[in-house]
């Protein structure tokens, strides 16, 4: 029962903290700008991509439709969303330590593990809402403004065209995997938050780790080949695999497994650290 109350408390704190709305506002603003740009000049952008295929293919129907717009938005924003998630979740422990409220909380009859797990759960719910809002803005508003249609995706293997009736389930699955990836960011930032007594440090550290790992992935140097598949950043874009034909299920399962293992690791480290932490501030 106390875990339920604690989780409820955490959600109330997130809901009433102005910073929590930065993420939603940023998504709304960014998606709004992208949508405006595509409404104003979308065909010019699309013609750059289709031009290289026009000698071999003939495009019929509405290429720039809601499904393509949603895909473009997701590709562009999925890099920024981790920052928006870390901005709130990185603050959940260290922010309370800096405010002094962590000291007040830990004099109550709640175990440290219960308190920590309620923060992970609340962080997960917040991350889910961010993903849900992104989905609504990208798919919902995108389809409303541009209408439905077949989705044309340019992969490293070539051009994939997905039928309108074959798309929505892919978006739902893609958002589920994107949520798993972002929850990993949430877990990492809460984990780092357990080591710090100031609210900015874990947020900056989370972004630094993402940047560092992303650079290792991008370097494409053989020496990093053994570790690259083990880094969670390698699997952050696993959601994109749902827009391949056929869907590489094995690859998606592997990516999901790596992300789940990272989550378990971050939560485990957090429990170990937080239970041994002396509250001196």
């Amino acid at each position: 029962m106390i875990f339920f109350h604690s989780t409820r408390n955490e959600l109330i704190k997130i809901a009433l903290k102005p910073r929590s709305y930065l993420g939603l506002a940023a998504i709304t603003g960014l998606v709004g700008i992208i949508l405006f740009a595509l409404v104003a000049d979308g065909m010019t952008v699309i013609s750059f991509v289709t031009a290289s295929f026009e000698q071999t293919l003939r495009f019929e129907g509405k290429v720039l439709n809601g499904n393509l717009v949603a895909f473009i938005i997701l590709q562009m924003l999925i890099i920024q969303i981790p920052l928006l998630v870390a901005l709130v979740t990185g603050d959940l422990i260290s922010g309370e330590a800096a405010m002094g409220t962590l000291r007040m909380l830990l004099t109550k009859p709640i175990t440290r593990t219960q308190l920590l797990m309620s923060k992970f759960l609340a962080g997960g719910i917040y991350t889910f809402l961010i993903v849900l809002w992104l989905g609504f803005m990208a798919v919902g508003i995108g389809r409303y403004l541009f209408g439905p249609g077949d989705l044309m995706v340019l992969n490293s293997d070539g051009l994939v065209i997905l039928q309108e009736g074959d798309i929505m389930w892919r978006y739902i699955c893609a958002f589920c995997v994107a949520f798993l990836a972002l929850f990993t960011i949430s877990s990492l930032s809460i984990c780092l938050s357990c080591f710090s007594d100031n609210s900015i440090g874990p947020i900056v550290a989370t972004m630094a780790i993402i940047l560092f790992f992303t650079i290792i992935n991008a370097l494409d140097v053989p020496v990093f080949d053994p570790i690259s598949p083990l880094l969670f950043t390698t699997h952050m874009a696993a959601w994109r695999s749902f827009f391949e034909d056929p869907v590489p299920w094995q690859q998606i399962k592997q990516s999901s497994l790596v992300l789940i293992v990272h989550n378990i690791l971050f939560i485990g480290i957090s429990i170990f650290t937080f239970n041994r932490k002396d509250i001196t501030v």
Binding site: S6, R8, L16, K17, G100, M104, L105, K108, I110
Partner: protein, 304 residues
């Protein structure tokens, strides 16, 4: 039968190379208002934090309500209300919302009516919906007390609750503590670096210095000693005559300070007679001060 509420034996805690607490031993009984007295950095807050499991001690035994803290943390903390150092709240939330959040994890969630009654009890009636960011230090301290008392704890731990309060706030806080003891028979631990405050409020006390409990006992026994330190200031020329008069009284540790002051230990009942004899002998007495040994000891601790 004396009912032990807190028992701490040989408590020790080190932060890096700094030994914050090295040998604390205290015993608090049901109904005590127990004073933790010591200069800043003596180890009072560290001891209190260990008592509330905020800090894990390196050594020693802590039992509350007869149960070892390490293995009964949640059961014990559900019976304790505490305010450590300063009252910190979620500044972006209202006073009511803050109390509601803390009460929900206190083991016994309070109703809206109970929270409003508690806010009224600490003098914050009418400010329930105001954000804490707009509260003065005194108001936050009152809110801290409300948070401490809301779940009706058996033991109340207050770490320097009068720090930063204005004179009226200090008086109100003292009255509140005495009300809690007299009307509700709460056991209260109260830390301070002010001896007179402890003397007014507490029935038992411990002096902590450099991480060790130096003196522990009943406040009356410790402070109302018969044998006190007396200091007499006279004229330089009359010092010898004054020493001669003094030699006819039961005293110990006579020493001269400068050319016009004598300090010695004597029972306080002897002071009027000594004063009469000095005047009768023609010794001009500019001042007679009496200090209790413990008070003198504590003042020296603070000064050092």
């Amino acid at each position: 039968m004396i009912d032990s509420i807190i028992s701490i034996q040989h408590l020790a805690k080190k932060f890096g190379s700094f030994q914050a607490v090295s040998d604390i031993n205290i015993q608090v009984n049901r109904g005590d208002v127990y004073g933790f007295l010591g200069p800043n950095g003596a180890g009072k807050s560290t001891t209190m934090r260990c008592m509330l499991s905020l800090i894990k001690p390196d050594a020693g035994k802590i039992s509350l309500f007869g149960l070892p803290l390490a293995s009964n943390r949640t059961a014990i903390l559900s019976r304790v209300g505490s305010l450590i150092e300063k009252p910190d709240f979620y500044k972006y939330l209202s006073a009511y919302r803050n109390l509601d959040l803390f009460s929900r994890i206190s083991g016994a969630p309070s109703t809206k009516k109970e929270i409003y009654q508690m806010l009224d009890f600490v003098g914050l009636s009418g400010r329930e919906k105001d954000q804490v960011s707009g509260f003065s230090h005194g108001m936050r301290q009152r809110l801290g007390i409300a948070q401490t008392l809301l779940h009706n704890p058996d033991l109340i731990v207050l770490d320097e609750p009068t720090t930063g309060l204005d004179p009226q706030g200090i008086i109100d806080m003292r009255h509140l503590i005495l009300r809690l003891k007299n009307e509700q028979n709460k056991t209260i631990i109260f830390s301070s670096h002010n001896l007179s405050e402890v003397e007014i409020i507490c029935n038992r006390m411990v002096i902590i210095h450099q991480g060790k409990s130096i003196v522990e006992g009943n406040v009356k026994d410790l402070l109302n000693e018969e044998d006190q330190i007396i200091r007499i200031q006279t004229h330089t020329d009359s010092l010898a005559k004054a020493l001669n008069v003094l030699s006819h009284f039961p005293q110990t540790n006579v020493r001269t300070i400068g050319s016009d002051t004598i300090e010695f230990n004597m029972q306080k009942e002897q002071i009027p007679a000594l004063n009469n004899q000095l005047v009768a002998a023609g010794v001009p007495v500019y001042s007679i001060e009496s200090k209790r040994k413990l008070e003198d000891y504590f003042i020296n601790l603070i000064a050092s």
